[in-house]
């Protein structure tokens, strides 16, 4: 269609986060009203602010090809690679009022530039490299089959832009949490047939820092400009912990396993039973809320649970289709 190549223009009002940690006590927002063409990407706008309006405006960029990961920022709360994101799409999504902010306002140094040290520390903590005994005088190539390469599930395409990390609500609350990008990196190397590290999977299974504190919000999957889908890698890391037999006997692990126990008994979940199995004696801390819930008819005792019809089918399937052990 001929319309596909027509360049259109429109007025957009940009509210741009401004802050200089050396001079400003608090950040502020500056408005720039600009005519934007459908051909432009977000980085073009950052350039125009700097070149046409205020030379002190600061941001990171290098490759302009979605490869270096330097230019990630937020537009209306959505993490994005400035050099890859079309202005047209942004206006389609959010209209003609666009808020331009750094990935993390808390970590802002100057305008779009943030202190990414926490991101790199977490990345370094997951042994983000191959651990292998290298034969220094090999007689043939060390080949990886296409099937084995597929196991990485494209985790190796991560450009460490940090978009997912700073979109993750748990990163914002729990400073020990490694975060989605570090988990994607951990998966990338653990899934590599040449790798023989034994600490990595254990590290990402530790409480507080590890995968079990992920709240399953899918913010990381939504944010990633490279379609890495970090939460899918997190799910795989969970499964690997069981496969390798290193899943700890703790509340998080029992919580995952407990679903199966409940399903095989009732088909449906026994909510109270699951909490009891997961928490063990620590269940006492739930008693005050549980009593209030009970008084409002929100707790069904085990004997009051309506089991699934055709429960024998479910029992049979659980028996024949189980693939994991704990």
């Amino acid at each position: 269609m001929s319309t596909e190549h027509k360049i259109t223009t429109q007025q957009v009002n940009f509210k741009v986060f401004r802050f200089n940690a050396d001079e400003d006590y608090l950040p502020y927002y500056e408005d720039y009203n600009m005519e934007v063409t459908s051909e432009e990407v977000v980085l073009d706008i950052l350039n125009r602010i700097k070149w046409d309006h205020d030379g002190s405006f600061s941001y990171r960029r290098s490759c302009r090809h979605g490869i270096c990961g330097a230019c990630a920022i937020k537009v209306n709360g959505r993490s994005t690679l400035a050099c890859k994101e079309s202005m047209n799409d942004m206006v389609d999504l959010f209209g003609s009022e666009l808020v331009i902010e750094p990935l993390s306002k808390k970590r802002a140094i100057k305008d779009m530039i943030i202190d990414k040290a926490d991101f790199w520390e977490k990345h370094a903590a997951v042994t983000p490299y191959l651990v292998a005994d290298i034969d220094e005088t090999p007689e043939s190539e060390n080949l990886v089959s296409p099937e084995d390469a597929d196991k990485l599930d494209e985790a190796d395409l991560c450009i460490q832009c940090g978009a997912c990390h700073y979109a993750c609500p748990v990163v914002a609350i729990n400073e020990d949490f490694f975060g989605p990008a570090a988990f994607a990196a951990a998966y990338r190397f653990d899934a590599d047939v040449r790798d023989s590290a034994d600490s990595r999977l254990k590290d990402v299974n530790e409480e507080k820092q590890g995968v079990w504190d992920c709240v399953k919000c899918f913010e990381c999957a939504e944010a990633c400009p490279k379609d890495i889908n970090p939460i899918a890698k997190i799910t795989k890391l969970h499964q690997m912990a069981f496969q390798e037999g290193i899943a700890k006997n703790n509340v998080a692990v029992r919580h995952a396993v407990g679903f199966k126990n409940s399903i095989v008994k009732n088909g449906v979940l026994d909510e109270g039973g699951l909490v009891l199995y997961s928490e063990g004696p620590s269940i006492v801390k739930h008693i005050p809320v549980a009593l209030r819930m009970f008084s409002k008819g929100k707790i069904v005792p085990p004997w009051g649970i309506t089991k699934s019809d055709n429960l024998d089918e479910i029992k049979k399937l659980v028996k024949s289709s189980s693939t994991a052990k704990f």
Binding site: F94, V170, N174, V215, A256, V268, L269, E271, V300, S308
Partner: protein, 293 residues
């Protein structure tokens, strides 16, 4: 209009800790003339945790649930965001991977079932909007909620990952600025509150293993709605509801501020606007005060 008919996958919560959600779903369906056939054979969907342990088992169980909807030739309607995500994700995987589908069907054959991929799966919220229509709801409102500021709380598993979610319904939702629930509030005559946390996480899935994280997320959500001057919150997800309604003490403690608002299930809000009584909607099953009726 032809009478709308769906296979209802209630999920476990509606039958246990949120009985009011089950009551209000049925009450609203009756008012709207929608027929819901309960899938009493269905098992738990695994609530996004079972697949961390055993992915294949989770696929088989979810495929079995869907197969029962297919047997009746009906679209499956869910009333829980996490049920919706798990079932839709299973469908997506099986519909796009013949080999996996064959493996799953090999197991289902043992119990005389087959997953075909013929039933759509949609959340009741989107069934109402897409199939019934907001305009028709608007016409049917007898008690407009016009005196209330209502804060929509969408819940992660209905809006992310958006690519998958938008496969399951016609009204395209922007996960960074969702509008479906806002539109429903407006159709019921209420005033929708815009606030930062409306598309954020409630923390439910780490309630046991990371109680502090979970409580901060819940606290921030209620606080955001309160700062937006909301009289109440509304959510399409019973798990979000459990967090927002029953965990206010922990949430308040975690964020150092007293937070509490009445929290309605999406169905309860629609039910009130359509003239259902508080008893029909199970408003007596809430922990947070519901003092506006």
């Amino acid at each position: 209009m032809k009478k709308l008919k769906y296979a209802l996958f209630t999920g476990c919560t509606a039958k246990q800790s949120t009985p009011e959600q089950m009551m209000s779903t049925m009450a609203v369906a009756e008012k709207l003339g929608i027929e819901l056939v309960e899938l009493t054979e269905a098992s738990c969907c695994g609530a996004s945790h079972l697949q961390d342990y055993d992915e294949f088992l989770s696929l088989v169980l979810n495929a079995r649930n869907i197969a029962y909807a297919e047997k009746q030739g009906l679209t499956m309607v869910t009333i829980c965001n996490t049920c919706q995500l798990n079932t839709a994700m299973t469908k997506h995987k099986l519909d796009n991977d013949e080999a996996l589908k064959a493996k799953v069907n090999e197991k289902l054959a043992e119990v005389g079932l087959e997953y075909k991929g013929t039933s759509a799966i949609t959340h009741f919220l989107y069934a109402i909007i897409d199939d019934f229509g907001l305009d028709k709801i608007k016409e049917m409102v007898v008690t407009p909620l016009s005196q209330f500021n209502i804060a929509p709380f969408y819940g992660c598993h209905n809006i992310r990952p958006s690519e998958l979610q938008n496969e399951t319904h016609n009204s395209k939702e922007n996960p960074y600025n969702p509008t479906s629930l806002d539109d429903l509030i407006i159709a019921c005559g209420g005033k929708n509150v815009d606030y930062e946390e409306k598309n954020k996480c409630c923390g439910f899935h780490v309630e046991l293993q990371a109680p502090h994280t979970a409580a901060v997320l819940t606290g921030n959500a209620i606080a955001g709605a309160m700062d937006g001057n909301a009289d109440m919150m509304v959510t399409p997800c019973p798990l979000c509801h459990l967090k927002l309604d029953t965990q206010t003490a922990h949430a308040s403690e975690a964020i150092g501020r007293d937070v509490e608002l009445p929290v309605l299930h999406m169905q309860q809000m629609v039910g009130l606007a359509l003239g259902c009584t508080p008893a029909e909607l199970g408003l007596n099953h809430h922990l947070a005060k519901v003092d506006f009726v």
